[in-house]
């Protein structure tokens, strides 16, 4: 294993290059806190790719999150799943439809062996949250999960609040007209394959009942969960939709839900990113 380490300017964390998986072809960066602030026996956070963005995350969200968690005493591995960022493609026969499960398992095996920590919190945005869900239900080493704009289903409440509610907002009409006038719509694509269909990120056979069963099994296992949703995510509108979707009542303990009405899906603004990173960090501190 190749390991090079750097001290960050803040002097409160170190970053280490990690290679794992088949022929060491998978790659991630482990951010560890300074010993003076390290939380004893804490799980390591694993941050998965959002879409095809490499491990730094959209607008460098994953780097900000990892370093903020380190300042609070937690370690984080931000990794590239196979075939994304700087990780190699996974070749050979794969016994699961979701290669992310294998990649994350390899990451956990590596950290268990090299760092001696066997408990993990999985963190993902968008497709990363989808993968986080799939992995969480299958591996008992996952003791916590942060799903950012993850799996959602439209509800009657969604249609009332979003579809009907937005028609009553002058800003919706203003923005729609401005987009139309500025030639809005999908951006021009020059290269075939520049866009990926939703089905390439998310399983298309997901049904609500199976997701509910998964969440209930995670609850039974004692997995701590934080769901973050943004207004910029198309299929959700308001914190109350969580209960409408899954019949589960969020609380301030094991099952926490947060909705950011002023945030874009990828946390484009610093203010939004700080809010999300701060929320995840305080959640970690409260749970572990």
């Amino acid at each position: 294993m190749i390991r090079t380490t750097t001290e960050m300017t803040e002097q409160t964390c170190q970053e280490t290059v990690c290679h794992f998986g088949p022929q060491g072809g998978l790659f991630g960066i482990l951010t560890t806190p300074d010993e003076s602030v390290q939380v004893k026996d804490a799980p390591i956070a694993l941050v998965l790719n959002a879409g095809i963005v490499h491990r730094v995350g959209p607008f460098r969200l994953h780097v900000d999150l990892a370093r903020q968690l380190a300042r609070s005493g937690y370690s984080t591995l931000r990794l590239d799943l196979s075939g994304l960022g700087d990780s190699a493609q996974r070749t050979g026969k794969i016994d699961t439809p979701n290669r992310a499960e294998l990649d994350v398992r390899d990451a956990m095996d590596y950290l268990e062996k090299e760092v001696g920590v066997g408990r993990f919190v999985i963190v993902g945005l968008c497709s990363g949250a989808f993968h986080a869900h799939q992995v969480s239900v299958k591996d008992d080493r996952i003791v916590g999960a942060v799903f950012m704009d993850g799996i959602v289903f439209r509800t009657l409440g969604f249609f009332l609040r979003h579809q009907v509610g937005r028609l009553l907002k002058p800003r919706f009409w203003r923005n729609a007209i401005k987009r139309r006038l500025s030639g809005g719509g999908a951006p021009d694509r020059q290269d075939a394959g520049q866009t990926l269909a939703e089905g390439e990120f998310f399983g298309e056979d997901l049904d609500k009942d199976s997701v509910v069963r998964d969440l209930e099994s995670l609850m039974t296992r004692g997995v701590r969960m934080l769901f973050l949703y943004t207004d910029g995510y198309d299929d959700i509108c308001g914190r109350s939709q969580f209960r409408e979707m899954y019949g589960l009542q969020p609380d301030e303990g094991q099952l926490q839900v947060e909705y950011y009405p002023k945030s874009e899906h990828t946390f484009r603004l610093i203010e939004n990113r700080q809010a999300a990173c701060g929320r995840v960090t305080s959640w970690m501190a409260g749970q572990f």
């Binding site: 090079t4 750097t6 951006p187 203010e271």
Partner: protein
């Protein structure tokens, strides 16, 4: 690929070194890739990775690097005070690549502001043998205005009325905070590629905004490519920027450039006589020699 941190131990830079595949060339050929900054850095990551992989299959040592405050390198953009910091990062990258490859000189391949920084670094370096300037930022002020316009448009189309808390110290542009001194430094940046003495290949879309002129015309070649200019399109802000055809053309052109540089003995050590681009093969180019 060798992923690693290098440079000042208190503020290290992240880089990915691609070892050449197949028979290594002698003297070694080395390319340092200088990426854009901000959101452009994220959009172009995959394209530059693929280009680096293609180059290493051409027996070339390649180092991709992240500047301070960008990508996986230490710090944040806000702590960068002037472009000199990033130019000095490139200088560190050049030394690191020479160390890894054993090359005496390196070629810089820069994209967008990375190209402008690469040109500035080349002016100060005897061990840069040539440059590829891919859609370079020719005018820092216009570049900043593009970023500001996109930022304003993004806020204007936000779901609610939104502002970003700029003050006398920082300005937020498309998700990054820039110090006022860095803003001034970017504003003052220009594409004075004529003052760069090393051979340079400029890669621009078919309808370039600027006509490139070099006092020594044989040192500069402009390659026109059939790509659209869409850096200021807000709808593309989070779209991967993929230019596989152009990247392939650049890879082929760099191989040609290395051949010619080798003819001038400019690979093993800094050239005493500057080689020119005048006889570069043009088979992979869609453009004309300026």
């Amino acid at each position: 690929m060798k992923h690693h941190f290098f440079g000042n131990p208190k503020s290290q830079l992240f880089g990915v070194y691609h070892r050449p595949r197949g028979i290594a060339s002698a003297p070694p050929r080395a390319v340092l890739i200088c990426p854009p900054i901000g959101q452009e850095y994220i959009r172009t990551h995959w394209c530059l990775r693929l280009m680096a992989s293609q180059m290493c299959r051409n027996s070339t040592h390649v180092l991709r690097m992240d500047y301070s405050g960008i990508g996986d390198s230490a710090g944040s953009v806000q702590t960068v005070q002037t472009l000199d910091r990033w130019i000095s990062d490139i200088r560190i990258g050049i030394d690191r690549l020479k160390e890894l490859s054993g090359a005496g000189t390196v070629m810089l391949v820069g994209l967008r502001l990375g190209a402008t920084l690469a040109a500035a670094a080349a002016r100060q370096s005897h061990d840069v043998n040539s440059l590829v300037l891919w859609e370079p930022v020719e005018d820092g002020e216009s570049y900043l205005e593009e970023l500001r316009t996109m930022h304003r448009k993004m806020l204007d189309l936000w779901v609610c009325k939104m502002t970003t808390p700029d003050d006398e110290n920082v300005e937020e542009l498309l998700g990054s905070n820039y110090s006022r001194s860095l803003i001034e430094s970017i504003k003052a940046a220009d594409g004075d590629f004529g003052s760069v003495i090393q051979p340079q290949l400029i890669v621009v879309p078919e309808k370039p905004v600027v006509n490139f002129v070099h006092p020594q015309p044989t040192v500069q070649k402009v390659m026109l490519v059939a790509d659209e200019y869409n850096w200021d399109d807000l709808r593309s802000l989070e779209t991967a920027w993929l230019r596989s055809r152009t990247a392939r053309q650049i890879v082929d052109s760099t191989a040609d450039m290395f051949e010619r540089l080798n003819d001038f003995d400019a690979l093993a050590a800094p050239a005493l006589v500057a080689p020119t681009m005048s006889n570069l093969p043009s088979s992979s180019s869609t453009g004309a020699i300026a």
